[in-house]
């Protein structure tokens, strides 16, 4: 499967947006060669500010720019943007509903060798806890570009989580992203796998393996965690009677929690969860970590089989 980097796509899309709209301003906290905001910095040096290693300052500066009419993209690694700056996200962006787009890279454990200080696995719980925030995790580079374009035109605070590693391309060119509308990647009737980010490709792989065993799985890319497409969840629960949620995040507060809250209220069905549980990982190669911590197509396959038994 062809692969591409979501963060490289982000950087290039920012330049395209910067050409279209002079009100777009980009902030970074000294990691622009990694977040790829460096492309924007080169083309629009007057509208790019390197805030140094002052992430909290950066988020509040972004708020001041947004309050003055700018569309602000602020980038650094997820652990710094979200985990370090929660109070700034809350008071400066969420409460006043300001138009700042946090596009952070190096989400999840696939950051790999840098280890647990750099593994961002609590971010979705934190951001989904903030009223008014839109939270999106694109599944590939094509979707990432679309998400960034939509974020630039939609009003209000956004959190977009990108990965460090390249991710498999699962969409054709010309794919059109709709915020808050889940994408059914594959139809199916026996169970539904709801996934986001890098887990969508793994869910598709698992569905292929299961199909060869006569199990017909639906696969949904739930790219928008907030607002959650509850109708898609209810439909999947009603039509397939079982759900597996797969995410590169802790068990608590992420996609699994949000889907379960919806099914519990609207249409309770057996569910299984593929995630990191309640623990930190270790340093290692991305693929090794996914194997060790149970985030593979095989893990999804087994969860589907267990959930079907409980129907």
């Amino acid at each position: 499967m062809a692969e591409a980097s979501t963060r490289e796509t982000y950087g290039k899309t920012l330049v395209e947006l910067g050409r279209q709209n002079k009100d777009i301003v980009v902030l970074d906290a000294d990691v622009s060669p990694s977040t790829m905001t460096t492309f924007f910095a080169q083309e629009f040096p007057d509208r790019f500010f390197n805030c140094g290693l002052e992430e909290q300052n950066m988020i509040s500066i972004a708020a001041g720019l947004a309050a003055s009419g700018k569309i602000v993209f602020a980038s650094t690694f997820v652990v710094f943007a979200i985990c370090r700056c929660f109070d700034q996200l809350r008071l400066c962006l969420s409460q006043p509903e300001l138009n700042v787009k946090i596009v952070a890279t190096h989400g999840g454990i696939t950051v790999g060798e840098d280890g647990i200080s750099h593994h961002a696995i609590e971010d979705l719980a934190l951001c989904c806890a903030l009223p008014g925030f839109t939270v999106v995790v694109p599944a590939d580079a094509i979707e990432a570009a679309e998400v960034v374009r939509v974020a630039a035109t939609a009003h209000g605070p956004f959190y977009v989580r990108l990965s460090r590693s390249k991710t498999p391309i699962i969409y054709p060119d010309g794919y059109h992203f709709t915020l808050g509308k889940a994408v059914t990647m594959k139809q199916g009737t026996d169970a539904t796998i709801i996934a986001m980010g890098i887990m969508v490709a793994k869910a598709l792989e698992a569905a292929d393996i299961l199909a060869r065993q006569g199990i017909d799985c639906r696969v949904i890319n739930m790219h928008t965690l907030k607002p959650l497409n509850e109708a898609a969840v209810v439909k999947a629960a009603s039509e397939t009677g079982a759900i597996v949620v797969a995410e590169e995040h802790l068990a608590q507060g992420g996609l699994g929690s949000r889907v379960a809250q919806t099914t519990a209220k609207e249409k309770p069905v057996p569910m299984e969860f593929v995630n990191l549980g309640d623990r930190y990982a270790l340093s290692g190669k991305a693929e090794e970590l996914l194997q060790r911590y149970g985030l593979t197509a095989r893990d999804i396959e087994e969860s589907v089989k267990s959930v079907i038994k409980r129907k």
């Binding site: 500010f49 909290q56 500066i61 708020a63 001041g64 409460q95 006043p96």
Partner: protein, 261 residues
């Protein structure tokens, strides 16, 4: 006018039954000077693009800001009586969503200077000539983010930014010098690259003249260290830490209002 604003503060907080009188009273002369003399603003058009911006970083001093906004015509003076009440536009700490004239939601300390930097940057990007003023407390200079902002405002050479510290020397539980000493305060800001001016924060004319002086400084931001007295104007509140975050009783409020006649 500062006295009138102080009277509003006492009445508002006594009516609400909670709030922070000390830090509102210490800032009264600064706020009065800004809203009645310094700021170019238009209360009938709070979103006027070229208005000077005033950002209250010490969000617990909301009552003194509300008093000034009401007296300059952003909303009716009678509305001050709704402070902290359910469905009031006057929230306990400032909230930019609800109150005309409030530029920033505040209440968690240490963020206002950063926010002001963003506002000042936007002026530069849009070639607008408005000035950005931000009022900090001395206590909130204990927050690390204030010093991140201090570094970056100087780094970005934001000479369209004036920060004022309401240096009343006290915070919630006592004297700042005992809790977390900030001194040598002026020298710290100078070392961070700021133009600094020390003044008596209750001297109206001094406040006006240093605001003018700041406009002439090029290439660096200005910090006005306004030496003030917490609870200024009410004898039993002055330098009394008990009135940092406690409302006066009606009897105390009456005594205070008599002193502020």
């Amino acid at each position: 006018m500062a006295k009138k604003l102080r009277r509003h503060v006492i009445t508002m907080i006594a009516t609400a039954g909670s709030g922070h009188p000390g830090g509102s009273l210490s800032a009264a002369d600064i706020i009065a000077a800004l809203y009645f003399k310094v700021l170019r603003h238009n209360p009938e058009n709070p979103h006027w693009a070229d208005r000077d911006r005033f950002i209250l970083s010490k969000g617990h001093a909301a009552p003194i800001l509300y008093a000034a906004l009401a007296e300059t015509g952003y909303f009716p003076v009678a509305e001050l009586a709704t402070l902290r009440k359910l469905d009031s536009r006057l929230q306990g700490h400032t909230d930019s969503k609800f109150t005309p004239g409030v530029e920033m939601s505040a209440g968690s300390l240490g963020m206002g200077l950063s926010f002001a930097i963003g506002v000042a940057m936007a002026a530069r990007l849009d070639s607008r000539t408005y000035r950005t003023y931000v009022l900090l407390s001395d206590g909130e200079c204990e927050e690390g983010q204030t010093w991140e902002a201090a570094l970056s405002a100087a780094h970005f050479k934001l000479d369209n930014l004036t920060a004022i510290v309401d240096y009343n020397g006290m915070q919630l539980s006592g004297w700042t010098r005992d809790i977390m000493n900030l001194e040598p305060f002026t020298r710290k800001w100078q070392a961070f690259g700021w133009y600094t001016i020390d003044i008596d924060g209750h001297d109206f004319d001094q406040i006006l003249s240093v605001c003018q002086e700041a406009e002439k400084i090029k290439g660096k931001p200005t910090l006005i260290i306004a030496r003030t007295i917490k609870g200024k104007g009410v004898s039993f509140m002055e330098n009394n830490v008990a009135f940092h975050g406690k409302a006066p009783t009606w009897e105390e409020a009456e005594r205070a209002l008599k002193e502020l006649k």
